[in-house]
């Protein structure tokens, strides 16, 4: 049995910029793994917390809207203010996002304490500084690892890496979608390594699928014993 720290993050908007866009800022459809690590680090006042396992559940449908913002444009870095200018930039925003995070790892106790007391060392936000959020403590729930090699489909509450999915099973009102090339691991400042493709339900509900052992990406499937029923995929 494992105990998972469960907490919610939500806000009026969020933006997790896809790194392949610059002139226009497109967003990933939900909180990314690296952004979550950064958020955990902000709570504790440390570098991004990459140790441990986390799962991300979408508690609200993915809704996006493109909005033009005035952003500081060209030649920002060269130090000569004379060349900077503000430029209208199309930014895709996530509207009313709500995520539930499941975490287990070495920082669990510290994080649970901080989130329960609603305190963090640095401001916590959903991808961009103008999307502030305060993590809300839900509880610490017991969960059991699932047995492998079953052909039985699972009802998973969280997003799942494609590598762990053998076959998708349809669900009424579900909108299965895939986001590819999500950055996997932060190596250093601005430096990342690897990518992961993830399946999610854009309508905000669970995914039903037949699992398979993930060859190159570690994924742990756990059945919740406490709290709400279902399976979570930690990675």
């Amino acid at each position: 049995m494992t105990t998972l720290l469960v907490f919610d993050v939500r806000g009026p908007l969020a933006h997790f910029r896809r790194p392949d866009t610059a002139v226009t800022h497109a967003t990933y459809p939900f909180l990314t793994r690296t952004a979550l690590h950064g958020l955990l680090g902000a709570i504790l006042g440390t570098e991004p917390v990459q140790d441990g396992w986390a799962a991300i559940e979408l508690r609200a449908p993915v809704r996006t809207r493109a909005q033009q913002l005035s952003m500081l444009g060209k030649m920002y870095l060269d130090g000569s203010n004379t060349k900077t200018f503000h430029r209208p930039t199309a930014v895709e925003l996530l509207i009313q996002p709500h995520y539930r995070i499941y975490y287990t790892g070495p920082k669990q106790a510290e994080l649970a304490e901080a989130i329960r007391q609603r305190r963090s060392v640095y401001p916590t936000y959903l991808g961009v500084a103008y999307a502030l959020t305060v993590p809300e403590y839900v509880g610490e729930w017991a969960a059991d690892p699932l047995e492998e090699a079953d052909e039985e489909p699972l009802l998973c509450r969280t997003v799942v890496p494609v590598a762990a999915v053998k076959r998708l099973e349809p669900l009424p009102d579900a909108e299965y979608a895939r986001v590819g090339g999500m950055l996997y691991e932060r190596v250093g400042p601005g430096e990342y390594r690897g990518g992961v493709s993830v399946l999610y339900n854009a309508a905000g509900g669970p995914i039903r699928f037949v699992p398979k052992p993930s060859a190159h990406l570690p994924v742990r499937l756990m059945g919740l014993r406490e709290g709400e029923a279902g399976v979570v995929a930690l990675w």
Binding site: D20, T21, R65, K74, A90, G180, G181, Y192, G195
Partner: protein, 697 residues
């Protein structure tokens, strides 16, 4: 990432292969830059003997006279157009500069084939030093150049060749040309042959070896073109031991910031990770060489083959104000909007399915399926003359639509919306609804005496229909919801329709406002019909607020003397419109041409509200009838009483849904004519007279 979709679309195209000539045409600009083949200066270099010869300038194609459509009543003119020899042009592949100064060396060159622009012809003519500078700066960026002869030796004869061309051209004539340094020999881009061979086209008759042909080694040219692409990708960094962000492969990688992807302008640095230098962007996110090739082909497909500029009439409607009519003059188009399509498999495909997928993409490229079965994308997405081949409408595929403004070539792309993971079957279902809606538009136009040709395009194409209903700010959001089978709201459309109708009502004494009002009634009822069909057939959910029965049904009941008005606010409003219109026809006749609404209801610029409809239009009808000597039919008298009773009962609901009441009122008012003509003996003549008067106006 967005490039993940492009890569998943591009890799099957890459795996599908194709002849070297096909690949060269796909990844270079030999088709788009056809004008550069007008003046080809070719230097034949025999690598083995280290000798060279400059060929006289030649044209790789012909000038053809093509008829040109003149204006009305004018004579048809002909215009000369340069048609390149396609079999030969693949022998000199190049990439057109995208942004920046095209006169300067840009990017990477696969083989020494360089574009020469008009200004350069004049500069390089008889100027050996300028030719040397021109060559050295470009050769330094060229992947496949063995240097079999010294650059210095080439400069003088080339300067002469440029001078020959420049002197033969008039001042007004724009010169475009191509300089080809053709290294000939085994293992080189060109080789000697007796004649054109199967694996490479004939390029030119050799000057160094009379009777022998110079042919292109297309396989090597394709390889060089890919190398140049890869070298461009490496400009923002390359690693030998990276991990591909898309496929997870370990090994040599290049940065995702590359020429193949127009949403990433290098020169705009603010959004880049501030910790990394520009040439180290590969450390942020990287692609393996194969995914990079897939990105190149996928990007080419999305932004060239599957990209369309939305027609001007669509763009105009997209930016039209939804809350007001925005004046009666044609609205100015503020910007050009493009749509690009990414087609991807949802899950990895087996070899056979992948081949069929690639064949489908190829069919899309050629649009040979236009007359065959497939999913037309014109009405659903606004992509004119575009059909998704039937093989790609399978449930295993998903569409991503990018709507953007700006210029892809200059890497200045501003996304308006990204609609991801659209299931073709949903798009198909919506398309069928729109086709069926055509009948409703025709019926309504007939009832409202409007020309269907004028409204069909606007009302039967989803983006402008949604823009009209929800306004510019929500059009893409609404489109995304529809393409994902999510419910959409009716109330914003009703609100906008009521506001626009109020605007028309404020100018009711003007005839143009009355026609504008009919137009608004048409838009209101068409969207209502679309919404009801969409919610019922596509979303398959109970429609909340769908409390107005179809208008023909309502009209028939009212004509038959129905007294059941209290079913909903919308139906109460519709009935009010019907009763007012029925009364006003007789009023017009008895008062010799006075409009009831202008004369008694919308007086002194007053606004029409539900209360005004009750208090000023319907309540005093018997009184007005007596005043003007109009005998009220028994049936109308009964309906009048029943409506007043229903209104008193429903007044609180009416006050909460004033927009719904008013929009339905105007619908009932204008549609009443379509059934009242035969019902009222005196009204028939009145209707004809009044319509004639409006038509004359």
């Amino acid at each position: 990432m967005l490039i993940d979709g492009l890569i998943r679309m591009g890799l099957p195209l890459l795996n599908r292969g194709g002849s070297p000539a096909e690949v060269i045409r796909q990844i270079t600009d030999v088709e788009a830059g056809a004008q550069f083949f007008q003046n080809v200066i070719l230097v034949e270099i025999d690598v083995a003997q280290r000798r060279f010869a400059v060929h006289p300038p030649m044209a790789w194609g012909d000038w053809q006279e093509e008829p040109q459509e003149g204006g009305k009543g004018r004579r048809k003119k002909t215009q000369a157009r340069f048609v390149p020899d396609r079999s030969r042009t693949v022998a000199a592949p190049f990439v057109l500069p995208k942004g920046g100064n095209p006169l300067k060396p840009q990017g990477r060159y696969g083989i020494p084939v360089y574009l020469v622009y008009d200004k350069q012809f004049r500069e390089l003519a008889a100027n050996a030093e300028a030719v040397r500078d021109f060559l050295e700066r470009r050769l330094a960026r060229t992947q496949l150049w063995r240097g079999a002869v010294e650059v210095a030796a080439l400069t003088a004869p080339l300067a002469d060749a440029f001078a020959t061309l420049a002197s033969g051209a008039t001042e007004k004539e724009k010169l475009y040309g191509l300089l080809v340094l053709a290294e000939v020999g085994e293992g080189h881009p060109y080789r000697y042959a007796a004649a054109a061979s199967d694996d490479g086209p004939w390029v030119v008759q050799s000057r160094l070896h009379p009777g022998v042909a110079v042919c292109a080694n297309l396989a090597l040219l394709e390889q060089a073109a890919w190398q140049a692409k890869l070298a461009e990708g490496m400009e923002k960094g390359a690693l030998d031991d990276g991990v591909c962000v898309c496929c997870g492969a370990e090994g040599p990688v290049v940065s995702i910031a590359n020429q193949a992807w127009p949403l990433f302008a290098f020169e705009w640095r603010a959004p880049l990770p501030s910790e990394l230098a520009e040439e180290e962007l590969v450390r942020g996110a990287a692609l393996c060489h194969r995914c990079y090739q897939g990105l190149t082909l996928g990007g080419q497909f999305c932004f060239s083959t599957a990209s369309r500029r939305l027609p001007v009439w669509v763009t105009r409607e997209l930016f039209a104000p939804a809350m007001s009519r925005g004046g009666d003059t044609p609205r100015q188009v503020r910007q050009e909007v493009y749509a690009g399509l990414i087609i991807t498999p949802l899950v990895p495909l087996d070899a056979e399915a992948e081949k069929r997928f690639a064949d489908g993409l190829e069919a899309f490229r050629r649009q040979t399926v236009y007359l065959e079965r497939g999913l037309p994308l014109e009405q659903v997405l606004g992509l004119e003359q575009t059909v998704l081949p039937e093989t790609l409408t399978d449930a295993r595929f998903r569409l991503t639509v990018l709507y953007y403004t700006g210029e892809v070539a200059r890497k200045n792309v501003h996304l308006l919306a990204v609609v991801e993971d659209v299931t073709p079957s949903v798009a198909q279902a919506v398309d069928e609804l729109l086709v069926a809606l055509g009948e409703e538009v025709a019926r309504l136009c007939q009832a409202l005496q409007l020309s269907p040709a004028r409204y069909e395009r606007q009302l039967l194409c989803l983006p402008p229909l949604l823009a009209m209903a929800y306004g510019y700010g929500y059009v893409w959001q609404a489109l995304g919801r529809i393409l994902h089978r999510q419910p959409i709201a009716l109330s914003p459309m009703v609100r906008h329709a009521a506001l626009r109708m109020q605007e028309c009502a404020a100018r009711w004494q003007r005839d143009d406002a009355r026609w504008a009002m009919r137009e608004e009634v048409l838009r209101y009822l068409v969207f209502r019909a679309f919404w009801q069909a969409y919610m019922r057939k596509v979303v398959q959910r109970k429609e909340e607020g769908a409390d107005m029965r179809p208008w023909p049904e309502l009209l028939n009941e009212l004509k038959a003397g129905s007294l059941d008005f209290a079913r909903s606010v919308d139906e109460l409003g519709f009935a009010a419109g019907y009763l007012v219109r029925a009364f006003s026809r007789g009023y017009w006749w008895k008062t010799k041409g006075k409009d009831f609404l202008t004369h008694r209801v919308l007086t002194f610029g007053s606004r029409l509200t539900p209360d005004a409809v009750w208090r000023r239009a319907i309540l005093p009808m018997p009184e007005y009838a007596v005043r003007v000597g109009l005998p009220l039919r028994e049936e109308l008298r009964r309906q009048h009483g029943a409506w007043l009773l229903a209104y008193r009962q429903m007044e609180p609901e009416v006050q909460k849904a004033r927009d719904a009441f008013l929009a339905a009122f105007w619908a009932g008012y204008h549609l009443a004519d379509s059934v009242l003509g035969a019902a009222e003996a005196e009204g028939e003549g009145v209707a004809a007279d009044e319509s004639a008067a409006m038509a004359e106006a």
